[in-house]
Symmetry: C2
């Protein structure tokens, strides 16, 4: 499949007090809609390669495909993110299938449409907040050092909310998205103003994480992990500063770098 798996973006790479602007590759994140026997079944948010394997493997994982003979035909339009699978036998009804799909911890259904609709309801962030690159690296270090569950098990994600250099909240969860939702929940319960806060996050920045940050109206997202191209597109439009790979002495500024000052 000739669909590119990465996109080239301009990144401001900061090391100590030096900043260089370079081209860098980020992973693409695309929604792919799967039709089962001509009925729309599911939209997977994924990397764009090997869609035949993904669609078939997903249906195997769901127990919909069990024997090789269950699969009658498969047709893919990679550029449009559309897959049609035909089974030789009957399959679970869509309603039954839906009921098994209520979940929070990751990719949203019908991604692009979902985000377009969401974006309509969310106004771009216009905060004058700025932060020093040096402080960002301290926050990232503090997050890792204070994530007790991660320190004990190595198996959880964490998110922290900062005001200036003060850490107000820190939550952990086995689910990347849950850690961010816990911040959102506490801030909501306490009626916190978030337009002047920073979110520090242990994980990778996919589109769903970006939607949560946009909904909160937080202007600066600092992640220890990598962003996807879709998350960066949304951040750029929503006025959100995304910093990735904030670890050790280095960080990458991907969007709205005007909020980051050196060193």
């Amino acid at each position: 499949m000739a669909v590119p798996e990465t996109t080239t973006v301009m990144v401001k790479k900061v090391t100590g007090d030096r900043m260089v602007t370079v081209e860098d590759e980020v992973a693409r994140e695309v929604p792919v809609t799967l039709f089962l026997n001509d009925e729309e079944l599911v939209t997977l948010v994924c990397s764009p390669g090997n869609l035949e394997e993904l669609a078939v493997g997903f249906l195997c994982s769901e127990g919909i495909l069990q024997r090789r003979t269950d699969l009658k035909d498969i047709f893919i339009r990679p550029e449009e993110g559309l897959i049609w699978v035909e089974t030789s036998g009957p399959v679970p009804t869509r309603q039954h299938f839906l009921k098994r799909y209520i979940t929070t911890c990751c990719g949203r259904g019908r991604s692009s449409f979902y985000f377009v609709n969401d974006a309509r309801g969310i106004s771009p962030v216009t905060s004058p907040l700025v932060v020093r690159a040096g402080a960002i690296l301290e926050f990232s270090r503090e997050l890792e050092e204070n994530a007790a569950l991660f320190q004990t098990t190595g198996g959880t994600h964490s998110a922290a909310l900062y005001s200036g250099s003060q850490r107000l909240l820190l939550y952990e969860d086995i689910g990347r998205h849950n850690a961010v939702d816990k911040i959102f929940g506490r801030a909501f319960l306490d009626g916190m103003e978030l337009k002047d806060k920073l979110l520090v996050f242990s994980g990778r920045v996919s589109s769903e994480i970006l939607v949560k940050v946009a909904r909160m109206g937080i202007p600066i997202l600092i992640a220890r992990g990598a962003p996807t191209d879709l998350a960066l597109e949304m951040a750029s439009e929503m006025g959100i500063t995304v910093v990735g790979f904030a670890r050790g002495e280095r960080l990458n500024i991907y969007t709205h770098g005007e909020r980051i000052i050196l060193p």
Copy 2:
């Protein structure tokens, strides 16, 4: 909330040709069911702490709670994993909500029930396959070195299928679960026998990953990340060997260690 966030398990820790059996802590993974205005809305698979923050944050992320006054009441039974939220105003219908929840990339709905049902359909793995600890570390190293998309972007997960010391398949995806589904899909399409194969995985082992491996009938799962307690319970019952933190010169054997030989 006094609910413990970790569980103590016995682990065989291997370093070079030495193995010690010790107690270690793994993160707990629990299903929590959220009722909105007395209607069951969603089950989140999560860490058991800060459930009030999680439930409220989830509803905020979904746009169901927007103003502080939208939240009328919240009642939690942490031990049972049950949360009731009452809103002061009307909220989206369950049907509308469901439609937005078709997704693959992470936690399944109604986790415990889901897995119980799944387990019924899956027979335990009884493969005589064995592997050397030294080979496991080579596979883990190979996975990282050959994950081209990860090497380029640092933002993807990878999974590889091995027969003996030969790598048959390797796929990458921004979604942890998608990488494993791509292996499942290709193996299904090619009619591969999986009872004598190993799966090498870049990520953390949650219950959903374990269900996929059990469905495939793969006897040995080697992960670079940490497992959850729920994944280990299932692996133990399903006869699956789980090796975690397989990086550098060290690895942890969590379940069915009879398939691992030293060095």
